[in-house]
């Protein structure tokens, strides 16, 4: 029992450790991919091929002077980045990242890979993500700067607009799976159609996946939806007045939120740890035999994150009114129609 508990703690700590380092790795990945796409090398000087650049970045951020504007609200100015990064970490709590494993026979009973398994897991993720907006809004308001205030205002407007489509896309998956536990939703995607195509929800819900992904990008304030920090218009948006560690927490929260969006997309649409590629390969049997589904899971997350970065350096930023129009007049109706069609199909096929 105690060994089991210890193992669970180790799993939780591993998830935490992964998220902490993910932001550093993603910064490097982003700069490298950007460099590649712009036909240059990207960071190259620190370490072999610039691979140690994250250490230099972190050291730089830690050693900067911490500034606070004179008219800033003392408490909220400090609270905002902490809130942003806390909610980012907490949202990952109910995301499972692997099937049951005994850690190569080390444990007596199988252990579920994932910090917590709650029977309303999807809602927990959604509830905590929707708390994340407060960090950004408070940062914008407490800075006592008009650019930051505009960034915060935009963030709140954008996030409540896209949260609806986000939730509606998830609701369709909830109906298909007949459960709100993320683990049960992943496990309902086991098996193959015609023995070849894995039973992923992306094949039943292609529109739902597209809506989820667009809304997810908007929720995490990434390009082409990065209006809260639009450089050309708002200097740096909500975090204009931040420096040093407090500043560092915002990009960190953003990258962790990206990982969470990618992880939820993998779990709900791409079959989680079931099946590596969208068709059956001999590799799948091997993965099942070795029981290393979590490697598959992280490979898929990596793929989605690469797509995230790829998109950032390919698509130009929208205009703000276009963003609002798109969210309310296209994305929301599309997601509602998708939900209704899914509901009708579920009712018809397995009533």
């Amino acid at each position: 029992m105690n060994v089991q508990l210890l193992a669970q703690f180790i799993v939780i700590f591993a998830a935490f450790f992964l998220l902490v380092n993910m932001s550093a790795v993603l910064v490097l990945a982003e700069r490298k991919v950007m460099g590649f796409m712009q036909q240059r090398y990207g960071p190259y000087l620190v370490g072999p091929h610039g691979m140690l650049q994250p250490f230099a970045d972190i050291l730089k951020l830690l050693m900067k002077e911490e500034l606070r504007p004179k008219g800033a609200d003392k408490w909220l100015f400090t609270l905002a980045p902490v809130l942003a990064v806390t909610t980012a970490f907490a949202a990952f709590a109910t995301v499972p990242f692997g099937g049951e494993t005994t850690l190569f026979g080390l444990l007596d009973a199988p252990l579920k890979l994932g910090a917590a398994d709650v029977n309303v897991g999807v809602l927990v993720i959604f509830a905590i993500t929707s708390m994340g907006v407060y960090g950004i809004v408070l940062a914008g308001w407490s800075s006592n700067s008009k650019y930051a205030l505009f960034g915060g205002l935009r963030a709140s407007a954008q996030m409540i607009s896209y949260e609806l489509s986000y939730a509606t896309a998830l609701a369709a998956i909830i109906m298909l799976a007949g459960s709100m536990s993320v683990r049960e939703m992943v496990d309902s995607q086991t098996g193959y159609w015609f023995g070849v195509i894995p039973k992923w929800y992306i094949f039943i819900q292609p529109i739902g996946f597209i809506i989820y992904f667009i809304a997810g990008v908007a929720e995490t304030n990434r390009a082409p939806f990065d209006f809260p920090e639009a450089e050309q218009e708002l200097v740096a948006g909500f975090n204009t007045e931040y420096s040093s560690v407090r500043f560092a927490l915002f990009p960190q929260a953003e990258y962790i939120n990206m990982v969470t969006v990618a992880a939820v997309a993998t779990d709900l649409f791409l079959g989680g740890w079931h099946g590596l590629l969208p068709f059956r390969t001999p590799l799948d049997g091997l993965i099942e035999y070795w029981n290393v589904g979590w490697l598959v899971f992280f490979a898929k997350i990596g793929g989605i994150l690469f797509f995230y970065i790829w998109m950032r350096w390919t698509v130009p930023r929208y205009r703000y009114d276009q963003l609002m129009k798109f969210g309310w007049k296209w994305l929301l109706p599309a997601s509602v129609i998708n939900l209704l069609v899914t509901a009708a199909a579920v009712l018809y096929f397995n009533a």
């Binding site: 709650v118 809602l123 407060y134 308001w141 915060g152 939730a167």
Partner: protein, 177 residues
């Protein structure tokens, strides 16, 4: 033991934060304290074995509605209320309004007392069901909502729709198509 401790901590937090909401002169702090109060309430729901209600509380109240509140407070960028100015000029400080306020407050207290007395006389925990099904089952909750309480459900949604249409009509400027 742990459960009752959690109950007292969360209720204390909820009541304390709610009291502070009224006590703040800065509207921003009021909104934030209200969020704290809602979060504590969600914790209490989890203690009652109703995780779905707790998450709905977090998503709808603490998430969506409070973001709107915050948005409005930021948009107006309300300065801190000046106590003396408030006392002198605010319309709600006129004696007539004060009297209505007193009547409403007495009504609220009476209502609260009545509700509590009724809960006391139930003798069984609220939300418990004879057949052992707990309120935590989302499926069961949906079924009850759309059969037994369908009228109340539909009436509420129409009410919200009316409020929404009203807001749109009020917000529309002259000359807009």
């Amino acid at each position: 033991m742990l459960e009752s401790l959690l109950f007292y901590v969360l209720s204390g937090l909820a009541v304390g934060a709610s009291a502070l909401v009224i006590g703040q002169r800065n509207a921003m702090y009021s909104v934030l304290l209200l969020i704290v109060s809602f979060a504590a309430l969600a914790g209490l729901y989890i203690g009652l074995d109703a995780p779905f209600v707790a998450m709905a509380q977090m998503i709808i109240y603490a998430g969506a509605i409070m973001v709107l509140f915050l948005f409005v407070v930021m948009l107006l960028n309300a300065p801190q209320e000046d106590a003396a100015e408030w006392d002198r000029t605010h319309p709600l400080k006129r004696p007539g309004f004060a009297r209505i306020g007193v009547v409403l407050a007495v009504l609220l207290v009476a209502e609260l007392g009545w509700a509590l007395a009724k809960v006391m006389s139930l003798g069984a925990p609220v939300g418990g069901r004879a057949d052992g099904a707990t309120i935590s089952s989302v499926r069961e909750m949906g079924r009850v909502l759309f059969t037994q309480y369908s009228f109340a459900f539909e009436a509420t949604s129409v009410l919200i729709l009316v409020a929404m249409v009203g807001a749109v009509v009020l917000a529309r400027r002259e000359g807009d198509a």
